[in-house]
């Protein structure tokens, strides 16, 4: 397994609360890696530290052999890590197409001067951005809503649009924060197909998810967080039977041992 992302002893505190303590993970190239754990276990915090929204209090991420800049979201994206949000965060007043085009911002270069004079490079870049955004909408299956504002899309389509926008940044690692939350069974099945397709296209996927069936059917490996600590890691079928994991989900069995 070739390592793509390595988390080394990540610590994150919020005041007196230890949100993450000494979390280490290794994600291989081309994997679908699941991150599960009860509510408040620190999964989203890990995402936020990874994507540069927060600076860690200790430890570092190594991506593709180089340390990731901390607390510089735009540099993290430039390195090839894209994320989605647990509570959908789209650009509501922009159309679906424009949302995805905005996602391509970091891979384009036109300057204000180029935009002012509309030179050939700028026009060509703009045309390519439009084309690519449309292809991505097709890829996630919502191209018929290209010119509809994001706020008027249905919930499931908004989730898909967020994935398309993240893909527009041309990531090597796509971090999805509970993509199936609030979806019905059909939508979840479609989402599973989409994530598998993304992996086939060479993008590594890091997935936070509560839907156990989805995680077990999709992930190559999973890690379990509880109270900010990694308590298990491995292939889903083994982790599922791990005693610490069962205790974490069913409520600290060890504390009630007689």
């Amino acid at each position: 397994m070739i390592t793509l992302l390595e988390a080394r002893h990540i610590d994150k505190r919020f005041g007196g609360l230890k949100a993450l303590s000494d979390v280490s993970l290794t994600i291989g190239k081309g994997e679908i890696y699941g991150l599960i754990g009860p509510n408040g276990a620190g999964k989203t915090t890990l995402f936020n530290v990874l994507s540069g929204a927060y600076a860690p209090d200790g430890g570092e991420f190594v991506f593709n052999g180089a340390a990731l800049p901390s607390a510089k979201p735009h540099l993290v994206v430039a390195q090839g890590i894209a994320r989605t949000f647990q509570n959908i965060r789209l650009f509501r007043e922009l159309t679906a197409l424009e949302n995805v085009m905005a996602g391509h911002h970091i891979r384009t270069k036109a300057s204000v001067f180029g935009i002012l004079v509309q030179n050939k490079r700028t026009r060509e870049e703009e045309r390519l951005t439009t084309e690519r955004a449309y292809e991505l909408l097709k890829y996630v299956g919502i191209e018929r809503f290209a010119t509809v504002t994001a706020k008027s899309l249905s919930y499931g389509d908004q989730r898909r649009l967020e994935i398309a926008r993240a893909l527009a940044t041309e990531p090597r690692l796509l971090a999805l924060d509970e993509p199936a939350a609030g979806m019905n069974a059909t939508e979840t099945a479609q989402l599973k197909l989409l994530i598998e397709q993304i992996r086939r296209d060479g993008i590594t996927v890091l997935l936070i998810e509560h839907d156990v069936k989805l995680v077990m059917g999709l992930c190559d490996r999973v890690a379990v967080l509880d109270f900010g600590c990694k308590i298990a890691e491995g292939i889903p079928s083994v982790v599922q039977t791990d005693e610490a994991v069962i205790n974490a989900y069913l409520g600290g069995g060890c504390r009630y041992e007689h």
Binding site: P73, L94, E98, N99, H105, L116, T122, T130, T147
Partner: protein
């Protein structure tokens, strides 16, 4: 232009091409009609165009990038005073206008960045308060920088600015075509300002439909998400402040040369609010809205001044309400009605940030 054309009532939807021509014809013919009612009306139009430019610049900051700026008039002041320093007897410097205007724009842009840096982390109300303070600081500086070294000449302001001279052509003198026929200077200014406004519109619309415009809109709609897709919000905010300020600076430079006189009282907080009102009244985030808002609200006080007194005298025999009082009354009333009936402004923004034409072969249309 398309946005403006589709905003024309009735015709805009049915025949945008015709609407476009209608706008061009109206823009060109406006002073010719206005002069029938007296020269002052052409002057009113000249000022209206300056306000259009200010509203366009402020719309870029507030409407596109979502940064509420209550001190925008400060950039207008920086532009006007730069023009005054570089082309008036005050320092004895008389640079040609084609140097003065870019320098005025540049100074305003610099002021925009200076304001931008400390407020990078602020949003909404907090940003509004700091920008409001900035606007007042600039005005107070202009008011008091006449001692110990006289820089701004204090509250008296600076007099006799050089008129606008383009390649030896003095716009402040009437253009004599034949002995009997001459074009009044006010018309010359009008058409020059019109050209500047047209240029601004083209520039702003190009910015809007570009990676920069989309990134601004993204930042406005959700800053955290914008960061998460790799948008460098710091640079884009500074860019918005400095570009917005540039338009203010250009308008200020034009104002100085046109008026021939600058003083701190032209740049009060009320002016900032007036420009913001124009943007909000017309429709925030929308070029057509900013233009229409600026035209209506800059012409309104003048119309009142000329209509209110005679109208009241014929109706009641005396003047019950002073035009100035009436103006504030009507403006407040208009804003309240606006917020109740059309909260998105006269022309609500259906701003486009992409060229969907590129996707014609996929059968995509707007």
């Amino acid at each position: 232009m398309n946005e403006l054309a589709s905003a024309v009532p009735w015709l805009g939807r049915r025949n945008p091409q015709a609407a476009r021509w209608l706008i061009v014809i109206v823009a060109i013919a406006a002073p010719l009609v206005a002069v029938l009612f007296g020269r002052t009306w052409v002057r009113v139009l000249d000022f209206a165009l300056l306000y259009v430019m200010l509203a366009l610049g402020l719309n870029l900051v507030v409407g596109f990038a979502g940064l509420l700026d209550l001190g925008y008039i400060a950039f207008y002041a920086v532009g006007a005073y730069t023009a005054a320093f570089l082309a008036s007897p005050h320092f004895g410097v008389h640079l040609p206008f084609w140097i003065v205007l870019p320098v005025a724009a540049g100074c305003a842009a610099l002021a925009g960045i200076m304001l931008g840096f400390p407020v990078l982390r602020l949003r909404g109300d907090y940003l509004a308060i700091v920008t409001l303070g900035f606007g007042e600081i600039v005005r107070i500086f202009l008011n008091n920088l006449n001692y110990p070294v006289n820089i701004t000449n204090g509250p008296q302001g600076i007099n006799t600015l050089d008129p606008l001279v383009l390649f030896g052509w003095d716009l402040s003198r009437n253009l004599e075509i034949t002995e009997n026929l001459s074009i009044n200077s006010l018309f010359l200014y009008y058409y020059f300002f019109l050209a500047c406004v047209a240029g601004s519109i083209v520039f702003i619309q190009r910015l809007q439909v570009s990676r920069v415009g989309r990134a601004w809109a993204a930042m406005r709609d959700d800053e955290l998400a914008a960061k998460a897709i790799g948008i460098n919000t710091r640079n884009l905010k500074l860019l918005a402040f400095s570009l917005g300020a540039t338009f203010g600076g250009v308008a200020g430079g034009l104002f100085g040369a046109f008026q021939g006189f600058v003083s701190p009282e032209s740049f009060s907080l009320m002016e900032s609010i007036a420009v913001l009102t124009m943007v909000v009244f017309g429709g925030m985030g929308n070029v057509a809205g900013a233009i229409v808002g600026a035209l209506i609200l800059s012409a309104l006080p003048e119309i009142l001044r000329h209509l209110a007194v005679p109208l009241q005298q014929t109706l009641f025999g005396t003047v019950l309400l002073d035009p100035e009082v009436l103006r504030m009354l009507l403006l407040s009333l208009a804003m309240i009605l606006m917020m109740l009936l059309k909260p998105a402004g006269l022309i609500p923004a259906h701003a486009r940030y992409s060229h969907v034409e590129h996707l014609k072969r996929h059968g995509v249309s707007r």
